[in-house]
């Protein structure tokens, strides 16, 4: 099992329940460049510590928001490619359907792969609804643009015989010839995140790593089964290796239970504020198909986007959920090293095996000292046991 340390690089000084929105409309005069400077360098230090402790590294990007200072994952990845020594560098991901120039994405990712000597894990995402407006992108046709950009990027990164041209519905290029080509040949590992079984089938067909975020056991198993269906249909093999699956959860550890829970509770402010955005930006027309939007409008709980469902079917409002709600939903692991180990084992057994645990071990209001202590404890007490255990189960087995 690979264990990734993830932070969104939050700017929590600007958070407040009284603010109607932390995204898009929050004036950037609130962003103090000195504070941002300290935060960027603090988070980079934490990723460097992760590298030393045996974690791999994950980052993402969002735009026009106090929830995530990583406006360009390429910038942070470039730094980490140079200052870290061994960790895999996962971007999850690049919103390729929102990018006007996929070849520029391919160039940046190839450079990062070469600078890091082949440590890039290249994740591609659809992007959240509220990143449509900052990207100046049209949500209509987003997924068909996404797949065309995907195909173009893969072709650009794997073509070694000189220039080729590309004629798509959305992108048209002459003389594509990537310098440098990626370090990892023929292609760095490709990842795609999803929350829908339909997309999971498509990702399985391509054999990429599929990541899902904070869905809990039931939803995650649905996605993994759908992936397996696509994977097997495309002839990749009768069994799916668990390294094709990744799951993101929050994690706080300490030497005593109360402290571990306190840390995770501070991280969970990430989720509580996640949907704090002026409502129209949550629903750009076209982000969901007309049919899906119609189904959602007729559902008894149309605000499902901000709501979690516990395994027992109890709805939980994200903005007010307790740590126990999050633990019950399988999206937070918290407590002592033993407790966290047991929670993770119960979860991974429940979903039939997991190759990549994406761990939000910094998030929300969790400070640097707590973050580093939590990571150290996890690395010394939990990680070795998880890695030893994982060696026994290599293939996905749905219960």
């Amino acid at each position: 099992m690979r264990i990734y340390h993830f932070s969104e690089e939050p700017y929590p000084d600007a958070w407040g329940a009284e603010r109607p929105s932390l995204r898009i409309t929050l004036p950037n005069e609130i962003c103090d460049p000195d504070v941002a400077h300290r935060l960027y360098n603090r988070y980079i230090d934490e990723w460097m510590l992760a590298d030393e402790l045996g974690f791999d590294i994950m980052l993402n990007e969002h735009h026009s928001t106090a929830t995530c200072l990583t406006a360009s994952a390429s910038v942070i990845l470039s730094i980490l490619a140079r200052v870290t020594k061994r960790a895999r560098l996962l971007v999850l991901g690049v919103p390729i359907g929102n990018r006007p120039d996929p070849i520029r994405v391919a160039e940046e990712m190839s450079m990062i792969d070469v600078i890091s000597k082949g440590r890039l894990e290249f994740g591609m995402i659809k992007g959240v609804p509220y990143d449509i407006e900052p990207a100046n992108s049209n949500a209509v046709s987003l997924m068909s643009r996404f797949w065309e950009a995907h195909d173009l990027i893969v072709k650009a990164m794997t073509t070694t015989t000189g220039p080729f041209s590309f004629e798509g519905d959305y992108f048209h290029y002459r003389n594509i010839n990537l310098w440098p080509r990626p370090y990892q040949q023929p292609l760095p590992p490709m990842w795609i995140s999803t929350a829908t079984p339909a997309n999971a089938v498509e990702i399985g067909q391509r054999g990429h790593v599929m990541a899902s975020f904070m869905g809990g056991i039931a939803e995650t198993v649905k996605l993994h089964k759908a992936y397996a269906q696509g994977y097997q249909a495309a002839g990749h093999g009768s069994q799916v290796p668990v390294d094709r699956f990744a799951y993101l959860a929050m994690c706080g550890v300490a030497s005593n239970e109360a402290e571990g829970r306190r840390r995770c509770d501070l991280i969970a402010d990430y989720l509580r504020t996640n949907a704090q955005v002026a409502d129209p930006f949550n629903k750009p027309p076209g982000y969901f198909t007309v049919e899906a939007a119609m189904r959602s409008a007729r559902s008894p709980n149309p605000r499902a986007f901000r709501t979690l469902m516990t395994p027992k079917g109890r709805p939980v409002e994200l903005s007010t959920a307790s740590l126990d709600d999050f633990i019950e939903c399988g999206i937070a692991f918290a407590g002592t090293p033993d407790q966290v180990f047991n929670q993770i084992c119960a979860f991974t057994d429940g979903i039939g095996g997991l190759g990549n645990l994406l761990m939000m071990s910094q998030g929300g209001h969790l400070g640097a000292e707590d973050t580093c202590d939590s990571m150290r404890l996890f690395a010394s007490e939990v990680m070795p046991r998880l890695k030893a255990r994982q060696a026994q189960a290599q293939f996905f087995e749905a219960a």
Partner: protein, 258 residues
């Protein structure tokens, strides 16, 4: 009274439309709000003309063909539509998105139209006077900002739409975004070709339009060769509802000019 829904086929597309009245044909292209409610405004037009209101592709219950992806496709589609209808030259009237479509059509080919009436058309911009953003307005703002007469807005807000109404509104919003999301409600190239409009044109605007400010009428006046502009006072973007009588009278007097 609203006429029954009829059908018309354009290539592989089955189009819903309303048709009423007798006289010279008048083709009305609706706004991004979808196939309009039949109001006294339309009765007034139908008293003198054969009024034809097709539902745009992708709107309401009319399917989205893969061959309509942008406003240029819409303009060419309506040229096909007119060919297929086989009723000779029409008075072409369009509101907002429909006005934009009508203008795009007219810059391409005026042989099938007698004249052009653009009611608060989208399609152009005036630098320094940004349009409102009906994609980002809340549901309530989107209704209120359409009307100067807030009583109309309140009546609409007081209604409980059916599931079918909601479905049609979602389809309308989706197709509107396909055509007008980016750049928002305009074609930067259109202003360069307005001189191609070779028929008499009338531009009608509500003085209090919160979506497309009435100053946009100046840009149309500057570009279209044979044009007259009428600004209706105390009137918002939904001109045909906000000031239906005045709008109908303005159209009828223009159509009767010759």
């Amino acid at each position: 009274m609203a006429p029954p829904i009829t059908r018309h086929k354009v290539r592989d597309l089955d189009v819903r439309m309303m048709r009423a009245g007798a006289g010279a044909p008048l083709l009305f292209l609706h706004s991004a709000g979808g196939l309009p409610v039949w109001t006294p405004f339309f009765d007034k037009l139908a008293a003198q003309y054969d009024v034809i209101i097709p539902e745009h592709p992708g709107f309401g219950d009319t399917a989205t063909p893969d061959w309509i992806r942008n406003i240029g496709d819409m303009a060419m589609y309506y040229l096909d539509f007119l060919d297929g209808l086989g009723i000779g030259k029409v008075h072409l009237v369009g509101h907002s998105l429909g006005g934009w479509t009508a203008a795009e059509l007219a810059t391409r080919n005026c042989t099938q139209i007698l004249d052009l009436t653009l009611i608060a058309p989208a399609g152009l911009r005036v630098k320094g006077a940004p349009s409102g953003d009906n994609f980002i307005w809340s549901a309530e703002e989107s209704v209120r900002n359409m009307f100067h007469n807030q009583k109309i807005a309140e009546a609409i807000l007081a209604m409980t739409p059916s599931d079918e109404d909601n479905d049609r509104a979602l389809a309308n919003r989706f197709m509107a975004a396909r055509l007008g999301w980016e750049p928002r409600w305009l074609n930067p190239a259109l202003a360069r070709w307005l001189h191609r409009i070779s028929v008499p044109t009338q531009v009608i605007w509500g003085a209090n339009d919160k979506l497309l400010p009435s100053v946009y009428a100046d840009a149309w006046k500057a570009g279209v060769p044979d044009v007259r502009v009428e600004i209706i006072p105390e009137c918002g973007h939904a001109v045909t509802a906000d000031k239906g009588d005045a709008c109908a009278a303005t159209i009828l007097s223009f159509l009767a000019r010759s």
